[in-house]
Protein backbone atom coordinates (compact mmCIF):
# COMPACT_ATOMS: atom_id res chain seq x y z
CA UNK A 1 0.00 0.00 0.00
CA UNK A 2 2.87 2.35 0.78
CA UNK A 3 3.92 2.08 -2.85
CA UNK A 4 0.72 3.76 -3.93
CA UNK A 5 1.36 6.84 -1.78
CA UNK A 6 3.57 8.29 -4.53
CA UNK A 7 0.61 7.95 -6.94
CA UNK A 8 -1.73 9.62 -4.46
CA UNK A 9 0.73 12.49 -3.95
CA UNK A 10 1.20 13.00 -7.69
CA UNK A 11 -2.60 13.02 -8.14
CA UNK A 12 -2.84 15.74 -5.48
CA UNK A 13 -0.28 17.95 -7.15
CA UNK A 14 -1.28 17.41 -10.80
CA UNK A 15 -4.27 18.60 -12.78
CA UNK A 16 -7.09 16.10 -13.59
CA UNK A 17 -6.37 13.42 -16.19
CA UNK A 18 -9.76 13.96 -17.83
CA UNK A 19 -10.46 16.67 -20.40
CA UNK A 20 -13.12 19.39 -20.24
CA UNK A 21 -15.02 18.19 -23.30
CA UNK A 22 -16.29 19.98 -25.45
CA UNK A 23 -14.18 22.99 -24.39
CA UNK A 24 -10.98 21.00 -24.72
CA UNK A 25 -10.71 18.70 -27.72
CA UNK A 26 -8.54 15.61 -27.85
CA UNK A 27 -5.79 15.54 -30.47
CA UNK A 28 -6.51 12.55 -32.69
CA UNK A 29 -3.64 10.67 -34.35
CA UNK A 30 -3.51 10.77 -38.17
CA UNK A 31 -5.37 7.84 -39.68
CA UNK A 32 -8.10 7.78 -37.04
CA UNK A 33 -11.30 6.49 -38.58
CA UNK A 34 -13.52 9.47 -37.81
CA UNK A 35 -15.89 9.75 -40.75
CA UNK A 36 -15.90 9.47 -44.55
CA UNK A 37 -16.67 12.17 -47.07
CA UNK A 38 -17.52 12.06 -50.78
CA UNK A 39 -15.94 14.29 -53.42
CA UNK A 40 -18.72 14.63 -55.97
CA UNK A 41 -16.47 16.22 -58.59
CA UNK A 42 -14.72 12.84 -58.92
CA UNK A 43 -17.64 10.40 -58.41
CA UNK A 44 -18.85 8.52 -61.50
CA UNK A 45 -21.78 6.74 -59.72
CA UNK A 46 -20.35 3.30 -60.48
CA UNK A 47 -21.93 1.98 -57.21
CA UNK A 48 -18.85 -0.08 -56.25
CA UNK A 49 -18.84 1.61 -52.82
CA UNK A 50 -22.45 0.57 -52.25
CA UNK A 51 -21.62 -3.01 -53.27
CA UNK A 52 -18.66 -3.23 -50.91
CA UNK A 53 -20.28 -1.56 -47.91
CA UNK A 54 -20.88 -4.29 -45.28
CA UNK A 55 -23.34 -2.10 -43.35
CA UNK A 56 -25.48 -1.09 -46.38
CA UNK A 57 -24.90 2.58 -45.56
CA UNK A 58 -24.56 3.71 -49.19
CA UNK A 59 -27.24 3.59 -51.89
CA UNK A 60 -26.43 4.63 -55.44
CA UNK A 61 -28.97 5.35 -58.15
CA UNK A 62 -26.88 5.01 -61.31
CA UNK A 63 -29.57 6.26 -63.70
CA UNK A 64 -30.74 9.13 -61.52
CA UNK A 65 -27.12 9.94 -60.56
CA UNK A 66 -27.82 10.19 -56.86
CA UNK A 67 -25.82 8.84 -53.94
CA UNK A 68 -27.44 8.54 -50.53
CA UNK A 69 -25.19 8.02 -47.52
CA UNK A 70 -26.49 7.11 -44.07
CA UNK A 71 -23.77 8.19 -41.62
CA UNK A 72 -25.46 6.36 -38.74
CA UNK A 73 -25.18 2.98 -40.43
CA UNK A 74 -21.56 3.59 -41.46
CA UNK A 75 -19.03 1.58 -39.44
CA UNK A 76 -16.02 3.45 -40.92
CA UNK A 77 -14.37 0.24 -42.11
CA UNK A 78 -12.86 1.96 -45.19
CA UNK A 79 -14.11 -0.76 -47.59
CA UNK A 80 -15.71 1.87 -49.85
CA UNK A 81 -12.53 3.93 -49.78
CA UNK A 82 -10.44 0.93 -50.87
CA UNK A 83 -12.87 0.00 -53.64
CA UNK A 84 -13.39 3.45 -55.18
CA UNK A 85 -11.74 3.55 -58.66
CA UNK A 86 -11.68 7.39 -58.74
CA UNK A 87 -10.50 8.09 -55.17
CA UNK A 88 -13.68 10.07 -54.60
CA UNK A 89 -14.01 8.98 -50.96
CA UNK A 90 -11.71 10.29 -48.25
CA UNK A 91 -11.31 9.68 -44.55
CA UNK A 92 -11.52 12.43 -41.95
CA UNK A 93 -9.98 12.06 -38.52
CA UNK A 94 -12.68 14.13 -36.81
CA UNK A 95 -15.51 12.36 -35.10
CA UNK A 96 -19.04 13.21 -36.12
CA UNK A 97 -20.67 15.49 -33.53
CA UNK A 98 -23.70 14.14 -31.62
CA UNK A 99 -27.09 14.90 -33.18
CA UNK A 100 -30.67 14.97 -31.94
CA UNK A 101 -32.27 13.43 -35.06
CA UNK A 102 -31.13 10.88 -37.65
CA UNK A 103 -30.63 12.00 -41.23
CA UNK A 104 -29.28 10.84 -44.59
CA UNK A 105 -26.86 12.75 -46.79
CA UNK A 106 -27.88 13.07 -50.45
CA UNK A 107 -25.23 13.72 -53.06
CA UNK A 108 -25.94 14.94 -56.62
CA UNK A 109 -23.49 15.46 -59.50
CA UNK A 110 -21.53 18.69 -59.35
CA UNK A 111 -20.44 20.87 -62.28
CA UNK A 112 -17.24 19.64 -63.91
CA UNK A 113 -17.84 16.08 -62.68
CA UNK A 114 -15.98 13.16 -64.29
CA UNK A 115 -19.22 11.30 -65.21
CA UNK A 116 -20.96 14.29 -66.82
Amino acid sequence: MAKMISTVMSNLTHCPKTRLYPLEERQLPPGTRGQIEFDMTKCIFCSLCAKRCPADAITVDRKGKTLVFNPFRCIICESCLEGCPKDAISLFSHWRAPVTALYEQKYQPEPGQAGD
Binding site: P29, I75, I76
Partner: protein, 358 residues
Protein backbone atom coordinates in the same frame (compact mmCIF):
# COMPACT_ATOMS: atom_id res chain seq x y z
CA UNK B 1 -32.79 -23.96 7.95
CA UNK B 2 -34.78 -21.81 5.49
CA UNK B 3 -33.71 -21.55 1.89
CA UNK B 4 -34.18 -18.56 -0.37
CA UNK B 5 -33.60 -18.19 -4.09
CA UNK B 6 -32.35 -14.82 -5.30
CA UNK B 7 -31.30 -13.71 -8.76
CA UNK B 8 -27.75 -12.60 -9.55
CA UNK B 9 -28.11 -10.46 -12.65
CA UNK B 10 -29.00 -9.98 -15.49
CA UNK B 11 -28.43 -6.45 -14.18
CA UNK B 12 -25.87 -6.37 -11.42
CA UNK B 13 -23.54 -3.55 -10.26
CA UNK B 14 -20.45 -5.77 -10.49
CA UNK B 15 -21.12 -7.22 -13.91
CA UNK B 16 -22.35 -4.94 -16.69
CA UNK B 17 -23.08 -7.95 -18.89
CA UNK B 18 -26.42 -9.76 -18.64
CA UNK B 19 -25.53 -13.07 -17.02
CA UNK B 20 -28.44 -14.38 -14.99
CA UNK B 21 -27.84 -16.87 -12.18
CA UNK B 22 -30.70 -18.08 -10.00
CA UNK B 23 -28.89 -18.78 -6.75
CA UNK B 24 -30.33 -20.71 -3.82
CA UNK B 25 -28.89 -19.71 -0.45
CA UNK B 26 -29.07 -21.43 2.92
CA UNK B 27 -28.25 -18.69 5.42
CA UNK B 28 -25.27 -17.03 3.72
CA UNK B 29 -24.08 -20.10 1.82
CA UNK B 30 -24.76 -20.93 -1.81
CA UNK B 31 -26.35 -24.38 -2.07
CA UNK B 32 -27.53 -24.44 -5.66
CA UNK B 33 -27.77 -22.40 -8.82
CA UNK B 34 -28.96 -22.43 -12.38
CA UNK B 35 -27.68 -20.14 -15.13
CA UNK B 36 -29.72 -18.44 -17.82
CA UNK B 37 -28.39 -16.66 -20.87
CA UNK B 38 -30.07 -15.23 -23.93
CA UNK B 39 -30.50 -11.54 -23.16
CA UNK B 40 -28.18 -10.22 -25.87
CA UNK B 41 -28.53 -12.78 -28.65
CA UNK B 42 -28.11 -10.94 -31.96
CA UNK B 43 -28.25 -13.78 -34.49
CA UNK B 44 -24.82 -13.01 -35.90
CA UNK B 45 -24.20 -16.56 -37.12
CA UNK B 46 -27.35 -16.45 -39.27
CA UNK B 47 -26.54 -12.93 -40.48
CA UNK B 48 -23.13 -14.19 -41.60
CA UNK B 49 -24.84 -16.63 -43.99
CA UNK B 50 -26.71 -13.75 -45.64
CA UNK B 51 -23.63 -11.54 -46.13
CA UNK B 52 -20.79 -12.07 -48.56
CA UNK B 53 -17.73 -13.72 -47.04
CA UNK B 54 -15.38 -10.65 -47.15
CA UNK B 55 -18.06 -8.53 -45.40
CA UNK B 56 -18.28 -11.06 -42.57
CA UNK B 57 -14.86 -9.93 -41.27
CA UNK B 58 -16.52 -6.73 -40.03
CA UNK B 59 -19.51 -8.66 -38.74
CA UNK B 60 -17.53 -11.17 -36.64
CA UNK B 61 -15.46 -8.30 -35.21
CA UNK B 62 -18.66 -7.19 -33.55
CA UNK B 63 -19.24 -10.52 -31.79
CA UNK B 64 -17.15 -9.16 -28.94
CA UNK B 65 -16.23 -5.56 -28.21
CA UNK B 66 -13.11 -6.45 -26.26
CA UNK B 67 -11.33 -9.10 -28.30
CA UNK B 68 -12.76 -8.07 -31.67
CA UNK B 69 -9.43 -8.39 -33.51
CA UNK B 70 -9.09 -12.06 -32.57
CA UNK B 71 -12.55 -12.87 -33.90
CA UNK B 72 -11.63 -11.27 -37.21
CA UNK B 73 -8.29 -13.06 -37.25
CA UNK B 74 -9.80 -16.50 -36.57
CA UNK B 75 -12.38 -15.99 -39.30
CA UNK B 76 -9.72 -14.82 -41.77
CA UNK B 77 -7.48 -17.78 -40.90
CA UNK B 78 -10.37 -20.13 -41.64
CA UNK B 79 -11.22 -18.53 -44.99
CA UNK B 80 -7.51 -18.43 -45.93
CA UNK B 81 -7.24 -22.16 -45.22
CA UNK B 82 -10.33 -22.93 -47.33
CA UNK B 83 -9.03 -20.85 -50.25
CA UNK B 84 -5.40 -21.98 -49.91
CA UNK B 85 -4.06 -18.47 -49.34
CA UNK B 86 -0.55 -18.06 -47.95
CA UNK B 87 -0.30 -14.72 -46.16
CA UNK B 88 2.99 -12.74 -46.10
CA UNK B 89 5.31 -13.09 -43.05
CA UNK B 90 4.89 -9.38 -42.23
CA UNK B 91 1.14 -9.93 -41.86
CA UNK B 92 1.78 -12.90 -39.52
CA UNK B 93 3.90 -10.73 -37.21
CA UNK B 94 1.44 -7.84 -37.36
CA UNK B 95 -1.35 -10.24 -36.41
CA UNK B 96 0.65 -11.22 -33.33
CA UNK B 97 1.18 -7.56 -32.47
CA UNK B 98 -2.50 -6.66 -32.79
CA UNK B 99 -3.55 -9.83 -30.92
CA UNK B 100 -1.22 -9.12 -28.05
CA UNK B 101 -2.22 -5.49 -27.58
CA UNK B 102 -5.86 -6.66 -27.66
CA UNK B 103 -5.05 -9.24 -24.96
CA UNK B 104 -3.22 -6.60 -22.96
CA UNK B 105 -6.16 -4.21 -23.06
CA UNK B 106 -8.58 -7.02 -22.20
CA UNK B 107 -6.54 -8.19 -19.20
CA UNK B 108 -6.04 -4.63 -17.91
CA UNK B 109 -9.79 -4.08 -18.23
CA UNK B 110 -10.45 -7.26 -16.28
CA UNK B 111 -7.86 -6.51 -13.58
CA UNK B 112 -9.50 -3.12 -13.04
CA UNK B 113 -13.00 -4.61 -12.89
CA UNK B 114 -11.80 -7.36 -10.55
CA UNK B 115 -10.31 -4.77 -8.17
CA UNK B 116 -13.58 -2.86 -8.34
CA UNK B 117 -15.55 -6.06 -7.54
CA UNK B 118 -14.05 -6.19 -4.06
CA UNK B 119 -14.16 -2.42 -3.59
CA UNK B 120 -10.55 -1.44 -4.37
CA UNK B 121 -11.49 1.55 -6.53
CA UNK B 122 -8.07 3.18 -6.52
CA UNK B 123 -6.48 0.09 -8.07
CA UNK B 124 -9.34 -0.07 -10.59
CA UNK B 125 -8.52 3.49 -11.73
CA UNK B 126 -4.78 2.77 -11.89
CA UNK B 127 -5.32 -0.24 -14.17
CA UNK B 128 -7.74 1.63 -16.39
CA UNK B 129 -5.35 4.59 -16.67
CA UNK B 130 -2.71 2.13 -17.95
CA UNK B 131 -5.28 0.62 -20.33
CA UNK B 132 -6.10 4.05 -21.72
CA UNK B 133 -2.60 4.31 -23.20
CA UNK B 134 -3.05 0.94 -24.90
CA UNK B 135 -6.37 2.12 -26.37
CA UNK B 136 -4.60 5.21 -27.69
CA UNK B 137 -1.98 2.92 -29.22
CA UNK B 138 -4.74 0.90 -30.88
CA UNK B 139 -6.17 4.10 -32.31
CA UNK B 140 -2.76 5.16 -33.58
CA UNK B 141 -2.07 1.83 -35.28
CA UNK B 142 -5.51 0.47 -36.20
CA UNK B 143 -7.49 3.68 -36.57
CA UNK B 144 -10.06 2.97 -33.87
CA UNK B 145 -9.91 2.42 -30.14
CA UNK B 146 -11.63 -0.96 -29.87
CA UNK B 147 -12.95 -2.31 -33.18
CA UNK B 148 -9.70 -2.22 -35.12
CA UNK B 149 -10.94 -3.46 -38.54
CA UNK B 150 -7.29 -3.99 -39.44
CA UNK B 151 -7.48 -7.71 -40.20
CA UNK B 152 -8.52 -8.80 -43.67
CA UNK B 153 -8.61 -12.03 -45.65
CA UNK B 154 -5.10 -12.25 -47.10
CA UNK B 155 -3.25 -10.30 -44.41
CA UNK B 156 -3.49 -6.97 -42.63
CA UNK B 157 -5.17 -3.83 -43.97
CA UNK B 158 -3.23 -1.38 -41.84
CA UNK B 159 0.51 -1.71 -42.15
CA UNK B 160 2.74 0.09 -39.64
CA UNK B 161 5.34 2.67 -40.63
CA UNK B 162 8.66 3.21 -38.82
CA UNK B 163 7.32 6.12 -36.78
CA UNK B 164 4.31 4.12 -35.57
CA UNK B 165 6.58 1.20 -34.62
CA UNK B 166 8.79 3.53 -32.55
CA UNK B 167 5.78 5.05 -30.80
CA UNK B 168 4.34 1.57 -30.14
CA UNK B 169 7.63 0.38 -28.63
CA UNK B 170 7.72 3.47 -26.40
CA UNK B 171 4.12 3.03 -25.21
CA UNK B 172 4.68 -0.67 -24.49
CA UNK B 173 7.84 0.10 -22.51
CA UNK B 174 6.03 2.82 -20.56
CA UNK B 175 3.12 0.45 -19.81
CA UNK B 176 5.57 -2.20 -18.62
CA UNK B 177 7.09 0.29 -16.16
CA UNK B 178 3.66 1.35 -14.98
CA UNK B 179 2.54 -2.26 -14.46
CA UNK B 180 5.66 -2.97 -12.41
CA UNK B 181 4.37 -0.31 -10.03
CA UNK B 182 0.70 -1.39 -10.00
CA UNK B 183 0.97 -5.20 -10.13
CA UNK B 184 2.59 -5.67 -6.68
CA UNK B 185 -0.45 -3.95 -5.12
CA UNK B 186 -2.81 -6.44 -6.76
CA UNK B 187 -0.63 -9.39 -5.78
CA UNK B 188 0.55 -8.45 -2.28
CA UNK B 189 -2.14 -6.26 -0.71
CA UNK B 190 -3.71 -7.81 2.40
CA UNK B 191 -7.26 -6.76 1.45
CA UNK B 192 -6.94 -8.31 -2.03
CA UNK B 193 -5.69 -11.61 -0.61
CA UNK B 194 -8.49 -11.69 1.97
CA UNK B 195 -11.09 -11.52 -0.81
CA UNK B 196 -9.42 -13.84 -3.35
CA UNK B 197 -7.17 -16.50 -1.80
CA UNK B 198 -9.04 -19.80 -1.46
CA UNK B 199 -12.23 -18.39 -3.06
CA UNK B 200 -13.76 -20.24 -6.00
CA UNK B 201 -11.52 -23.30 -5.91
CA UNK B 202 -11.28 -25.38 -9.09
CA UNK B 203 -8.99 -28.39 -8.95
CA UNK B 204 -6.96 -29.58 -11.93
CA UNK B 205 -9.22 -32.63 -12.32
CA UNK B 206 -12.40 -30.53 -12.22
CA UNK B 207 -10.96 -28.00 -14.67
CA UNK B 208 -10.35 -30.81 -17.16
CA UNK B 209 -13.66 -32.54 -16.40
CA UNK B 210 -15.77 -29.38 -16.88
CA UNK B 211 -13.81 -28.31 -19.95
CA UNK B 212 -12.42 -25.03 -18.58
CA UNK B 213 -10.37 -22.96 -21.01
CA UNK B 214 -7.87 -20.13 -20.97
CA UNK B 215 -6.59 -18.52 -17.75
CA UNK B 216 -9.17 -20.61 -15.78
CA UNK B 217 -7.50 -23.81 -16.94
CA UNK B 218 -3.96 -22.48 -16.54
CA UNK B 219 -4.69 -21.24 -13.00
CA UNK B 220 -5.63 -24.84 -12.12
CA UNK B 221 -2.25 -26.18 -13.21
CA UNK B 222 -2.89 -27.25 -16.81
CA UNK B 223 -0.29 -25.88 -19.21
CA UNK B 224 -2.57 -25.43 -22.20
CA UNK B 225 -2.53 -22.37 -24.42
CA UNK B 226 -3.40 -22.47 -28.12
CA UNK B 227 -0.53 -20.11 -28.91
CA UNK B 228 1.62 -23.21 -28.38
CA UNK B 229 0.23 -24.55 -31.66
CA UNK B 230 2.19 -21.77 -33.38
CA UNK B 231 -0.49 -20.04 -35.46
CA UNK B 232 0.38 -16.60 -36.92
CA UNK B 233 4.03 -16.01 -35.91
CA UNK B 234 3.93 -17.52 -32.40
CA UNK B 235 6.13 -20.43 -33.43
CA UNK B 236 8.94 -18.10 -34.55
CA UNK B 237 8.58 -15.83 -31.51
CA UNK B 238 8.80 -18.63 -28.96
CA UNK B 239 6.12 -19.05 -26.37
CA UNK B 240 5.56 -20.85 -23.05
CA UNK B 241 2.19 -20.70 -21.27
CA UNK B 242 1.79 -19.05 -17.85
CA UNK B 243 0.71 -21.66 -15.29
CA UNK B 244 -0.35 -21.46 -11.63
CA UNK B 245 -1.42 -24.40 -9.53
CA UNK B 246 -3.65 -23.05 -6.72
CA UNK B 247 -6.89 -22.96 -8.75
CA UNK B 248 -8.49 -20.10 -6.76
CA UNK B 249 -9.51 -16.54 -7.72
CA UNK B 250 -6.10 -15.24 -6.66
CA UNK B 251 -4.33 -17.71 -8.99
CA UNK B 252 -6.54 -16.57 -11.86
CA UNK B 253 -5.63 -12.94 -11.19
CA UNK B 254 -1.96 -13.95 -10.98
CA UNK B 255 -2.13 -15.74 -14.35
CA UNK B 256 -3.63 -12.64 -15.96
CA UNK B 257 -1.10 -10.32 -14.30
CA UNK B 258 1.75 -12.45 -15.63
CA UNK B 259 0.10 -12.68 -19.05
CA UNK B 260 -0.01 -8.88 -19.33
CA UNK B 261 3.79 -8.82 -18.97
CA UNK B 262 4.08 -11.70 -21.44
CA UNK B 263 1.86 -9.89 -23.96
CA UNK B 264 4.02 -6.77 -23.78
CA UNK B 265 7.10 -8.91 -24.38
CA UNK B 266 5.52 -10.74 -27.34
CA UNK B 267 4.20 -7.53 -28.93
CA UNK B 268 7.61 -5.87 -28.62
CA UNK B 269 9.36 -8.94 -30.00
CA UNK B 270 6.96 -9.04 -32.96
CA UNK B 271 7.72 -5.39 -33.74
CA UNK B 272 11.48 -5.88 -33.40
CA UNK B 273 11.50 -8.85 -35.77
CA UNK B 274 8.90 -7.44 -38.18
CA UNK B 275 9.96 -8.62 -41.67
CA UNK B 276 9.96 -6.24 -44.62
CA UNK B 277 7.56 -6.70 -47.49
CA UNK B 278 3.87 -6.63 -48.26
CA UNK B 279 1.30 -6.89 -45.46
CA UNK B 280 -1.45 -8.44 -47.56
CA UNK B 281 -2.06 -10.48 -50.70
CA UNK B 282 -4.94 -10.12 -53.14
CA UNK B 283 -7.73 -12.64 -52.79
CA UNK B 284 -9.68 -14.14 -55.66
CA UNK B 285 -12.33 -16.83 -55.75
CA UNK B 286 -14.77 -18.19 -53.18
CA UNK B 287 -14.30 -20.51 -50.20
CA UNK B 288 -15.26 -24.15 -50.62
CA UNK B 289 -15.18 -26.94 -48.02
CA UNK B 290 -15.20 -26.86 -44.24
CA UNK B 291 -12.66 -25.99 -41.60
CA UNK B 292 -12.20 -25.51 -37.85
CA UNK B 293 -9.99 -22.78 -36.48
CA UNK B 294 -8.88 -22.35 -32.87
CA UNK B 295 -7.24 -19.25 -31.44
CA UNK B 296 -6.29 -18.27 -27.89
CA UNK B 297 -8.42 -15.31 -26.88
CA UNK B 298 -7.80 -13.39 -23.63
CA UNK B 299 -10.51 -15.57 -22.05
CA UNK B 300 -9.48 -18.87 -23.59
CA UNK B 301 -10.09 -21.02 -26.61
CA UNK B 302 -12.12 -19.50 -29.44
CA UNK B 303 -13.43 -21.94 -32.00
CA UNK B 304 -14.75 -21.15 -35.48
CA UNK B 305 -16.39 -23.68 -37.77
CA UNK B 306 -16.69 -22.38 -41.32
CA UNK B 307 -18.40 -24.18 -44.18
CA UNK B 308 -18.28 -22.74 -47.67
CA UNK B 309 -20.02 -24.00 -50.81
CA UNK B 310 -18.03 -22.31 -53.56
CA UNK B 311 -20.29 -19.25 -53.62
CA UNK B 312 -19.85 -15.78 -52.10
CA UNK B 313 -22.08 -16.73 -49.17
CA UNK B 314 -21.07 -19.21 -46.48
CA UNK B 315 -23.22 -22.23 -45.84
CA UNK B 316 -22.60 -22.22 -42.10
CA UNK B 317 -20.60 -20.25 -39.55
CA UNK B 318 -20.46 -21.53 -35.99
CA UNK B 319 -18.67 -19.72 -33.18
CA UNK B 320 -17.90 -21.15 -29.74
CA UNK B 321 -16.55 -18.58 -27.34
CA UNK B 322 -14.48 -19.21 -24.18
CA UNK B 323 -17.04 -17.90 -21.67
CA UNK B 324 -19.54 -20.52 -22.86
CA UNK B 325 -16.93 -23.20 -22.08
CA UNK B 326 -16.22 -21.69 -18.65
CA UNK B 327 -19.81 -21.46 -17.37
CA UNK B 328 -19.94 -25.20 -16.30
CA UNK B 329 -16.81 -24.61 -14.18
CA UNK B 330 -18.52 -21.61 -12.57
CA UNK B 331 -21.43 -23.87 -11.60
CA UNK B 332 -18.93 -26.19 -9.93
CA UNK B 333 -17.11 -23.38 -8.06
CA UNK B 334 -20.05 -21.48 -6.60
CA UNK B 335 -21.87 -24.07 -4.39
CA UNK B 336 -20.50 -23.87 -0.85
CA UNK B 337 -19.17 -20.32 -1.11
CA UNK B 338 -20.33 -17.28 0.86
CA UNK B 339 -22.94 -14.92 -0.61
CA UNK B 340 -20.46 -11.98 -0.49
CA UNK B 341 -17.92 -13.93 -2.57
CA UNK B 342 -20.31 -14.65 -5.46
CA UNK B 343 -19.47 -11.45 -7.46
CA UNK B 344 -15.72 -12.01 -7.09
CA UNK B 345 -15.94 -15.66 -8.18
CA UNK B 346 -18.26 -14.87 -11.12
CA UNK B 347 -15.87 -12.15 -12.25
CA UNK B 348 -12.86 -14.43 -11.88
CA UNK B 349 -13.93 -16.37 -15.01
CA UNK B 350 -13.86 -13.03 -16.93
CA UNK B 351 -17.37 -13.51 -18.33
CA UNK B 352 -18.15 -12.01 -21.72
CA UNK B 353 -21.82 -12.67 -22.32
CA UNK B 354 -22.13 -10.75 -25.59
CA UNK B 355 -19.46 -13.08 -26.95
CA UNK B 356 -21.25 -16.15 -25.60
CA UNK B 357 -24.62 -15.30 -27.12
CA UNK B 358 -23.35 -13.95 -30.44
Amino acid sequence: MGRITAPFGPQHPVLPEPLHLNITYEDEKVVGLSPAIGYVHRGLEKTAEKKEYPENVFLVERVCGICSFMHAMTYCMGIEELMGIEIPPRAQYLRVFYSEISRLHSHLLWLGLFADAFGFENLFMQYWAAREKILDLMELTGGQRVILSSCAIGGIRRDLNAEQIDTAQGVLMQTEEELKRINPVMLNAYTVKQRTVGKGMLSREDALLYGAVGPMLRASGVAQDLRQTGYAAYRELGFAPVVETDGDSYARALVRVRETCQSIELARKALERLPEGEAAVKVKGNPDGETMQRVEQPRGELLYYIKGNGSKNLERLRIRTPTFANIPSLLKMLPGCEMADVPVIVLSIDPCISCTER
